[in-house]
Symmetry: C2
Subunit: 207 residues, 2 copies
């Protein structure tokens, strides 16, 4: 059971993600929904308002998908670090790659250079949040003696996160065009293995 308002929302998400905000007209949205242009304005103030609501939804969902410190502390002790990262990756992809969220991520990426809200979301959700999360995880792992203590958690987090971001980025492009992503998935696992190895065998810290 989906209301007209929801239909507009979903249709807009789909179209914006495929053609960009300015590439989609109100006419096109309403044509796809099956209502007249004028009816749309009963649900949303204007075209911009739809985008705002989409971004609101995205932020809510991303926050929901972020694990708490407590959850992490408990979870980390149950499995080896490398496996923890693999599971985390799978969970992240599961939460983050529902069609809806993937589409909105794309909208964020598309509008990031023009729309301030999109920029803030990109910086916060894709960079800062991931970074903080990874720092926290490496700290917990060190405290629990699961990995060596010679490496700065911040450095490890930087390496883990940005590498993963580069990979995610390529993954997004490929999956957007239905190109095979197997190689990237393998590279992600290779990346996790690499960082886990280093975290385990301390290789000497700052001079």
């Amino acid at each position: 059971m989906s209301t007209t308002k929801q239909k507009i929302f979903n249709t807009a998400v789909d179209l914006f993600s495929r053609k960009g905000f300015s590439g989609v007209s109100v006419r096109e949205i309403t044509r796809n929904v099956g209502i007249k242009e004028s009816s749309l304005y009963n649900h949303y103030k204007n075209k911009d308002d739809i985008l705002t609501k989409i971004f609101d939804y995205f932020q809510t969902q991303m926050q929901k998908a972020t694990p708490t410190k407590q959850y992490l502390q408990e979870k980390i002790k149950t499995i080896p670090p490398e496996q923890f990262w693999e599971t985390g990756l799978v969970n992240f992809q599961k939460a983050t790659q529902t069609p809806q969220i993937q589409k909105i991520s794309k909208i964020v990426l598309l509008e990031m250079f023009q729309n301030q809200r999109a920029r803030d979301i990109a910086l916060e959700e894709f960079f800062t949040r991931q970074q903080k999360l990874a720092v926290m995880i490496f700290e917990i792992m060190q405290e629990s003696n699961l990995i060596g203590k010679d490496n700065d958690p911040k450095v490890l987090a930087l390496e883990y996160t940005y590498g993963m971001l580069g990979l995610q980025f390529e993954y997004n492009i490929l999956s957007n065009w239905n190109l095979p992503t197997k190689t990237i998935q393998e590279k992600m696992l290779s990346h996790i293995k690499f960082i886990s190895e280093i975290a385990k065998n301390s290789i000497g810290g700052e001079n």
Copy 2:
């Protein structure tokens, strides 16, 4: 001395990079150039044609900026690995961050999900090319006994490249909005140091 055709080109690059292809009208381009709409069609077949020419130019420039294997082989021997990467980063940024190239990079990123040509350029120039280059460099370093031989050059290249791509990505967003990029620059150096350390002190390879 700049012809009308060049003015159109430069204006289009500037506007497309700021508003996206579909966010810019032919009227807006010609208004900025100082000619009538109809005059534009004496120089370019249509709006799409301008974008195509912009992409052509970009690929030519990126190819020019790619060092040859011979150049690398000679250069690598003259300085320590970490310094080599730092120099390489500076050179890359110098070549790649002229206002024009930076703008076109942004256009590529903006259109990547909608325009097949932009997608191909992104994959080729941002991922494949960088990756191949890094593999080549690590191989030369190993052959020249400048780094340990226990790590697979491909793995090192993967780690170096994707980490750098994530960082470049954040750098692009920040610099686009005139936000401070000092932190990212530091992170880039930290990344180089990290990878160089690992390449130097072999930490044990595949099992």
